[in-house]
Symmetry: C2
Subunit: 196 residues, 2 copies
């Protein structure tokens, strides 16, 4: 056993830093969060973060890819353990899974920030496109539902992103009630409540 090691391997560090990057970039987005912020969260020096990832853009991109990886894994898990194995049953299970997954907001906000940074940082744009492509392909081939249902699925997801960023789930006004009605949200409904 090597538990008396005081240094990590570079790969361990990279994983830890990616995880910190997800949490930190989710707070303020690409431009508002500094490498020093991420480094502090990971407990290492800013210089070493840059040595591990060569540029801020690549660091953000790595975080984003991790984000899509987590979502994909959750879709797979939900799909495999769905009670109702019909196409729409599987899709519904994945919807539930997504709602649970983004309860902590990090994965959700990172996507919002990535979308904003996509044009100025082409690498990020490609990562978003790749992530959405992979998610869409997986949903289509795994569920076999009609195309419009997948459109719908993503559309509602995007609406959920918007409603979360403006805290609509906590607003007590007609417009907010109207928009959040029936939209599953981990914080808004105790798990186990009937959906729709």
């Amino acid at each position: 056993m090597k538990s008396d090691r005081v240094l990590s391997t570079a790969d361990e560090r990279r994983a830890k830093v990616v995880s910190s990057a997800v949490a930190t970039f989710a707070q303020g987005g690409f431009h508002a969060v500094t490498i020093a912020d991420v480094a502090k969260h990971a407990g290492i020096s800013p210089a070493y973060v840059l040595k591990l990832f060569t540029s801020k853009t690549q660091l953000f991109t790595a975080a984003l890819e991790e984000c899509y990886r987590r979502i994909m894994a959750e879709f797979k898990r939900a799909g495999d353990s769905a009670e109702d194995a019909s196409p729409t049953g599987v899709l519904d299970a994945m919807g539930e899974a997504y709602a649970d997954l983004i309860g902590d907001r990090d994965l959700l906000m990172l996507q919002v920030h990535a979308q904003s940074a996509a044009t100025v940082e082409p690498l990020i744009g490609e990562a978003v496109r790749g992530g959405i492509a992979a998610l869409t392909d997986y949903l289509a081939s795994r569920t076999r539902v009609e195309g419009w249902r997948i459109q719908q699925f993503l559309a509602v997801g995007q609406l959920c992103h918007l409603l979360t960023t403006i805290d609509a789930f906590d607003v007590d006004a007609p417009w907010a009630k109207l928009l959040t009605e029936g939209i599953r949200h981990a914080d808004a409904r105790p798990s186990g409540s009937p959906a729709d």
Copy 2:
């Protein structure tokens, strides 16, 4: 006639600067675009931009409010001139109007960037909330459709924002075809083509 004036009034300048701010912030978002960028676009000095708007955040917020104002105006126009005056007919007309309106991308991208900046800059967050609230209230009271249709309407709008930022309308791949199928997009379909 005062055409020999060489100085503008502050109000004229403000309007011009807001318009420049919409166009400029739409390119890179709140953090990536500088006051100097906006000033150059408006043809005045950065110092004077700051004198007219006191802070970068207020400038961005003014641009965002202008954005919602334009959308709202277009909704009103479309609603009033809808051929089919039934609730869903009016809503459809507004959907068409929105698709046309965001053909130039500025209004669309500004919203995407605003969503990203909303948490770090609370003033922007409030402006987004206010804009969505006003839009939702107007849609609900003017069209009188069921709530879920308005949800749907906004959800598809948000999906459209995503698809535009990743240029999905120009991608020739199954996932892109699937997601853009039937989604109206000013650049994608010549005006006058049958929708749905």
